[in-house]
Symmetry: none
Subunit: 133 residues, 4 copies
């Protein structure tokens, strides 16, 4: 099962609300389980360099079935996955990419957020993910 | 002046309505005047190969300040711009990319649509563009 | 021998004058004999999609020691170099790329121009090339 | 508002003067607010590997609305943005990219300099930025 456009739009809408609450200007991207782009929004005045980062966060989460925050410790120098970012045309492995699951726990997509601190990015991604029932 | 997210979302909403009317499943992309991604929607069941095509159509229109339909005759074998598609990381030069202007006639962005015949793609892009006042 | 920055700037200055005379807004790129970027100018309001095209025209001319106009007939369907544009990260093989030679006839660089018709592009490139003694 | 070619050329001219004063041979790149190339100069004998670095510094500054020097501490191992360089086709996050603002404080472009120590690169970029009124 893959995420629908209606679900992706609900996630983006919730993420935007959270972003406004945090006084941030975010790029928000939702991909399906196959890492294909389903929906995207760039909030006015947000960093344009974060368009690509939000996409790569969402794709990275979908590709490895885990939040990008879970990858961050594993990619440090000396760790097992050091420099994994060189694969797949470029990964982003810091927080802000969050997997989206259905009721059975199956990954149906992922949301990636970029445009502020990684803590804010992650919080906005979580808000988007939680909008999907 | 650049297109706002609210304008881009209005364009996508109108484009989706037109796509449904034509019984098609489209990928719809809106970029700003600098060709940066502002909003995107992939309709359920649409071709995933058209995600990238819709983006490249929108970017091509923004980069050259003209609808992609205007480029199509110029890029044929023997014509002046043959194989221009190899620039800018890949152009798409068949119909479905349409420029978006403000009231003063200035280009503020572009919409790219892909997922059906090029006639349908172009019609859906026009419907999206016309939603912006 | 390679083109100097002073020579490249003289070429761009002359090319800009010609572009203004033709009422066009050009992107003008000068590379050295090794196809490395030496100088560049984007005239206000010019197509941003032509930034990359002007670079690829200059590089294509430098890589093959001939004007891009000389390549155009050879890259047509059925001809010897059909689809050569897939090499080198993307070639542009229509007019507007012109080699620059020293007094001994040695290629010292190339100029690429994009932003109008290919005839205008080529004329502006020639004007730039002729500024170099 | 975007930087004009005249402004970009003034920045490059001032940057070249500073580079000569520091006895360095620099690559100097100016981009607009959308990260599109406006002007470029490669000083005779400069590193050709720095052509691309100067461009990526300018684009990185424009994409994130901050000097690249501000990014350097954030991208170290263990820090929040470790390996962000894998986005956007390659970022450069050490000093030498500087944002250019108008009188209202709005970012209108950025300048990127590469060819010497990062301290010299940064100093030359600042000199270029300060030439724009």
């Amino acid at each position: 099962m893959n995420i629908t456009l209606a679900q992706a739009e609900a996630a983006i809408s919730a993420a935007k609300k959270k972003a406004i609450k945090l006084k941030t200007k975010m790029n928000i991207c939702v991909v399906d389980a196959g890492s294909n782009l389903i929906a995207f929004a760039h909030m006015d005045g947000g960093w344009i360099g974060s368009v690509d980062i939000s996409m790569k966060k969402a794709k990275t989460a979908a590709w490895f079935l885990m939040d990008t925050a879970a990858l961050s410790p594993l990619v440090q120098p000396g760790e097992a996955l050091f420099n994994i970012e060189h694969s797949n045309g470029g990964l982003i492995t810091f927080p802000g990419g969050v997997v989206i699951k259905d009721e059975a726990g199956e990954v149906i997509g992922a949301i990636g957020v970029s445009g502020s601190t990684v803590d804010n990015d992650h919080a906005v991604a979580i808000a988007g993910m939680e909008a999907i029932k």
